[in-house]
C-alpha cells in the first residue's frame, strides 16, 4: 500500500517548467549563488548610497586630509563601538640633521578627552535619496556631537575608510562611485547588445550581398585596437571642458559600446545563419510569416538565453575597461565618481607618496576586483544553468 502511494505521488508530479530547471541548475552552482548574492547586496547598498554614506561624497573636510581608515581605530565598550576625536599632527622627516615637515603626510592621534559613540540611524547632513526623497537620517554616524562648537566638530568625524587629499570621505565616494561603475556597465551592454544583435541579426538573416557588406564593416571595427581607440577618442573629448556630467557619462557609454558591438554581432550572425535554415523557421516561412515575425518570434527567443549569458559575462570586461579609462583620467571625472577614477590619484605626481603614506586610497581597487569576481561567478553559473549540455564549464565561449 505504502509503495503504491509513493509511486502515484511520483507520477503525479507537476510538470516542471524550463525556468524552474534553470533556477535549480543555477542554485547548484555554489560560487555562482554567492556571486549573485554579493552583487545583489552591492546593488542594494549603492542604490541607497546617500543614506548609507556618512557624508556627502563631494564635500571636502579641509581640516582632516588623509585620515587613515577609522574602522581600525574603533574602540569597543561592550558591544557599542566608539571613537575618539582626532588630533592632526604634521609628520616630519629628518634630513641632513634638520627636521622638515613631510608635505601631505599627517599622523592622526586619538583625542582621549572626547569620546563619541557610534549609532545607527543618526541624523546628519541633508541629502536627496535617488534625487527625490529628502532626508537627513544616515545609516550610521557619531552620536552626541550636538553640543560641540563648530571648531571642535571639525575633528570629530567618523571616516570608515579614511579621507583623500581634500578630506573627502573615501567610503562615501566608493558608494557613489560603485553606483556609476556598476550602473554604467549594464548601459554599455544594453546599447552594444542592441546594436550588435540588430546588425548581426540582419546580416545573418538577409545573407548575400548585405551580409558581405555588413561583415566588412564589422571587420573594420574589429581591426581597430579597442583600448587605444577609446583612449584616443576620450582624449579628444577631454578637451571639451564644462561638459555636463550626464553628457560625459553617456559619452563614455557610447565609447565603450562602440567597441562592444562588433564581436557580438559576429556571434549573433552565426546563430542567425544556423537558425535561418532550421525546420521551424522554414515552417513559419511556409505559413507565410513575415520576416519580422520570423526574426522576433522564431529566432530571437532561441538565442535569448545565449544573449543573457553573454551579457553577464561581458559586464566584467566593461567594468575593467571603464576602470582603466577612468584610472588613466580619461573616463568618468568629477563631479561624477567611479572606482577607477578614485584610483586616478595614483596617476602621475604623488604616486610614490600615496603608495608609501596613503595606501588606503587603493581600497577602491578591492571593490573593482570583488564585483568583477562576483559577476564572473554569476556569469559562469548562468552559463551552466542555461546550457544543460555544457557540463564541463571549461573554456569561455
Amino acid at each position: 500500500m505504502n509503495k503504491n502511494v509513493s509511486l502515484t505521488s511520483e507520477f503525479s508530479h507537476k510538470p516542471v517548467s524550463q525556468r524552474y530547471l534553470i533556477w535549480k541548475r543555477f542554485t547548484r552552482h555554489r560560487l555562482g549563488v554567492i556571486g549573485g548574492a554579493i552583487m545583489l547586496f552591492m546593488i542594494t547598498i549603492f542604490a541607497f548610497a546617500e543614506f548609507v554614506a556618512p557624508y556627502e561624497y563631494l564635500v571636502p573636510h579641509a581640516d582632516t586630509p588623509y585620515v587613515p581608515p577609522m574602522i581600525t581605530r574603533l574602540h569597543w565598550d561592550g558591544i557599542s563601538p566608539y571613537v575618539y576625536g582626532m588630533k592632526r599632527i604634521q609628520a616630519t622627516v629628518e634630513y641632513q640633521g634638520r627636521v622638515l615637515p613631510l608635505p601631505g603626510v599627517f599622523n592622526y592621534e586619538d583625542d582621549l578627552d572626547k569620546k563619541f559613540y557610534l549609532g545607527l540611524f543618526v541624523p546628519g547632513e541633508e541629502y536627496k535619496l535617488m534625487g527625490s526623497f529628502k532626508g537627513n537620517i544616515h545609516l550610521f554616524g557619531l552620536t552626541g556631537t550636538e553640543n560641540l562648537t563648530s571648531r571642535e566638530k571639525k575633528f570629530v568625524k567618523f571616516f570608515p575608510l579614511g579621507t583623500d587629499q581634500t578630506g573627502r570621505d573615501l567610503f562615501s565616494q566608493i558608494l557613489v562611485g560603485g553606483r556609476i561603475t556598476l550602473g554604467l556597465a549594464p548601459m554599455v551592454i544594453l546599447v552594444s547588445f542592441l546594436v550588435g544583435t540588430f546588425v548581426g541579426g540582419f546580416s545573418g538573416y538577409l545573407g548575400g550581398g548585405w551580409d558581405t557588406f555588413i561583415q566588412r564593416i564589422t571587420e573594420i571595427f574589429m581591426s581597430l585596437p579597442r583600448l587605444a581607440l577609446i583612449l584616443t577618442i576620450s582624449g579628444l573629448l577631454a578637451t571639451l571642458i564644462n561638459v555636463p556630467p550626464m553628457v560625459r557619462f553617456w559619452s563614455i557609454v557610447g565609447l565603450l559600446s562602440l567597441i562592444g558591438w562588433a564581436p557580438l554581432s559576429r556571434v549573433v550572425r552565426g546563430q542567425f545563419l544556423a537558425l535561418r535554415e532550421h525546420e521551424f523557421t522554414q515552417a513559419a516561412r511556409a505559413l507565410g510569416a513575415s520576416n519580422w515575425r520570423i526574426i522576433f518570434r522564431q529566432i530571437m527567443p532561441n538565442i535569448m538565453s545565449y544573449l543573457v549569458v553573454a551579457a553577464t559575462l561581458a559586464i566584467p570586461d566593461i567594468i575593467i575597461l571603464e576602470s582603466i579609462l577612468s584610472f588613466l583620467g580619461y573616463g568618468i571625472q568629477n563631479p561624477l565618481m567611479s572606482w577607477g577614477y578614485l584610483l586616478n590619484a595614483f596617476q602621475g605626481q604623488g604616486f610614490l607618496t600615496h603608495m608609501q603614506f596613503h595606501p588606503w586610497l587603493l581600497i577602491p581597487a578591492f571593490f573593482i576586483v570583488i564585483s568583477v569576481l562576483a559577476l564572473n561567478f554569476l556569469g559562469d553559473a548562468l552559463r551552466d544553468a542555461y546550457d544543460p549540455f555544457n557540463v564541463t564549464s571549461g573554456a569561455a565561449e
Binding site: 560560487l31 571587420e219 573594420i220 581591426s223 581597430l224 585596437p225 579597442r226 583600448l227 587605444a228 581607440l229 583612449l231 584616443t232 577618442i233 582624449g235 579628444l236 578637451t239 571639451l240 566584467p316 575593467i320 576602470s323 582603466i324 584610472f327 588613466l328 580619461y330 584610483l343 595614483f346 610614490l352 603608495m355 608609501q356 595606501p359 587603493l362 581597487a365 573593482i368 576586483v369 568583477v372 569576481l373 564572473n376 561567478f377 559562469d380 564541463t392 571549461g394 573554456a395 569561455a396
Partner: protein, 345 residues
C-alpha cells in the same frame, strides 16, 4: 600555403586603407588642434595663422588625408628606373611637440624592442606556467588542487592588470619599503638611472630583471588564468577521445598516454590562439607600461594623447591596428597549419 598567406596579406591592404581613413577622420573631427596646445591661448593671430599654414591645417580634409596616407603607405613614386614603382620609408608626419618624425617619436629609443620583449615574454611565461597546470587539472579533475587552481584562475581573470601592478608597487614601496633602503630596488623605468649606458654586468642584468620581471609576470597573470581554463577543457575533451582509450587499452603508461597522445592534440587549439593573443596582450601592455612607466611605444602613445600630438596618436593607432591585423593573420595561418580540416586553397 604561400598563396593563402599572400591572399590574406593583399586582403589586409584595403582594410588598412579604410582604417587609416577612420583614424584620420577621428583626428580631424576633434575640436581644437595642435597649434592651440603649442601656441597657447595668448597666441598672436599672425603666428597662429603661420603655424596652421606650416602644419598644413588649412588644406581641405581630403588633401590633408591624402598627404598623410601617401606617406603612411610608403610614399610610392613612379620613375623611369627599374622597377618603376619605388617605395620609401613610411612617413607618418612630423610630431610638433617632440620635433621629430612621428614614427620615430613613437618607436624610437628602442621603444618597439621593449614592447615586443614585454609582450612575447609575457606570452611565453604564461604558457609555461599554464600548460602544466592545465594538464594537471585535467588529469586530476575535481581534486583539491584542480579546484584551487580553478578558483585562483577566477581571481586571476577578475584581477585587472593595472590593479595587480598597483598592488605590487604598494607591496614593494609601502609594505616592504625596499626602494627606501636600497636604491637598487627602485621602481619604474627599465633600468636604474645609474646603470644606463653601463657595460653589461651581473648587477645591470639583475637590475634589469628587477625592473622588467614584475611587469612581465603581471601581464602574464591574467592570461595564465585563461590559458589554464582552455588547456584544461581541451585536455578533458581529448582524454575522452577513442584513441586515448586505445592507447590506455594497449597498456601504455599513463605518462605516455597523457604527454605523448593527449597533450599534443590538446595544445593545437591553443597554438592557433597565439595570434589572437597578441592584441589582447598589447592591450594589457598599454596599461602596464603606463603604470610601471616603461619606455615603450605605449607610453609614448599615451604621452601623445596627453599633449594632443595628433601625428603620434595617429601613427600609434595605425601601428596598433597593424599589430592586431597581423595577430589575426598569424592566428589564421597557425589554425590552417595545425588543423588539417581547414582548407586554405
Amino acid at each position: 600555403m604561400l598563396s593563402f598567406i599572400t591572399r590574406r596579406l593583399l586582403y589586409m591592404l584595403p582594410i588598412l586603407f579604410i582604417v587609416s581613413f577612420v583614424i584620420f577622420l577621428l583626428m580631424w573631427m576633434q575640436p581644437g588642434d595642435v597649434v592651440d596646445s603649442m601656441c597657447g591661448l595668448a597666441c598672436p593671430p599672425n603666428l597662429r595663422e603661420a603655424m596652421r599654414e606650416n602644419f598644413g591645417l588649412n588644406d581641405p580634409f581630403l588633401i590633408q588625408y591624402g598627404k598623410w596616407a601617401y606617406g603612411v603607405f610608403f610614399s610610392p613614386t613612379l620613375n623611369t628606373n627599374f622597377p618603376f614603382l619605388h617605395f620609401h620609408e613610411p612617413d607618418f608626419g612630423f610630431s610638433p611637440t617632440r620635433s621629430m618624425p612621428a614614427l620615430q617619436a613613437l618607436l624610437g629609443e628602442n621603444r618597439w624592442v621593449w614592447t615586443i620583449l614585454l609582450v612575447l615574454s609575457a606570452i611565453v611565461v604564461s604558457w609555461l606556467i599554464a600548460i602544466p597546470i592545465g594538464v594537471y587539472s585535467a588529469t586530476h579533475k575535481y581534486s583539491l588542487a584542480d579546484n584551487t587552481f580553478s578558483f585562483l584562475g577566477f581571481i586571476g581573470i577578475s584581477m585587472p592588470n593595472f590593479i595587480l601592478g598597483l598592488i605590487f608597487i604598494w607591496l614593494i614601496v609601502g609594505v616592504f619599503k625596499l626602494g627606501l633602503h636600497d636604491d637598487f630596488f627602485a621602481i619604474g623605468g627599465i633600468l636604474n638611472t645609474e646603470y644606463v649606458g653601463e657595460p653589461l654586468s651581473w648587477e645591470v642584468v639583475l637590475n634589469f630583471l628587477w625592473h622588467f620581471g614584475p611587469p612581465v609576470l603581471i601581464l602574464a597573470g591574467a592570461s595564465t588564468a585563461i590559458v589554464i581554463r582552455y588547456m584544461r577543457s581541451n585536455m578533458l575533451d581529448v582524454l575522452e577521445m577513442a584513441y586515448v582509450k586505445t592507447a590506455r587499452a594497449k597498456g601504455l603508461k599513463e605518462r605516455i598516454v597523457v604527454y605523448k597522445h593527449a597533450l599534443r592534440n590538446a595544445i593545437n587549439p591553443l597554438v592557433s590562439m597565439l595570434g589572437f593573443w597578441i592584441p589582447v596582450m598589447m592591450e594589457g601592455a598599454l596599461v602596464i607600461a603606463i603604470v610601471f612607466n616603461l619606455p615603450q611605444l605605449e607610453t609614448a602613445f599615451f604621452q601623445a594623447i596627453i599633449t594632443r600630438d595628433n601625428m603620434i596618436v595617429m601613427s600609434g593607432l595605425f601601428v596598433f591596428s597593424l599589430i592586431l591585423m597581423f595577430g589575426n593573420l598569424i592566428s589564421d595561418i597557425l589554425l590552417a597549419m595545425t588543423d588539417p580540416k581547414i582548407r586554405y586553397e
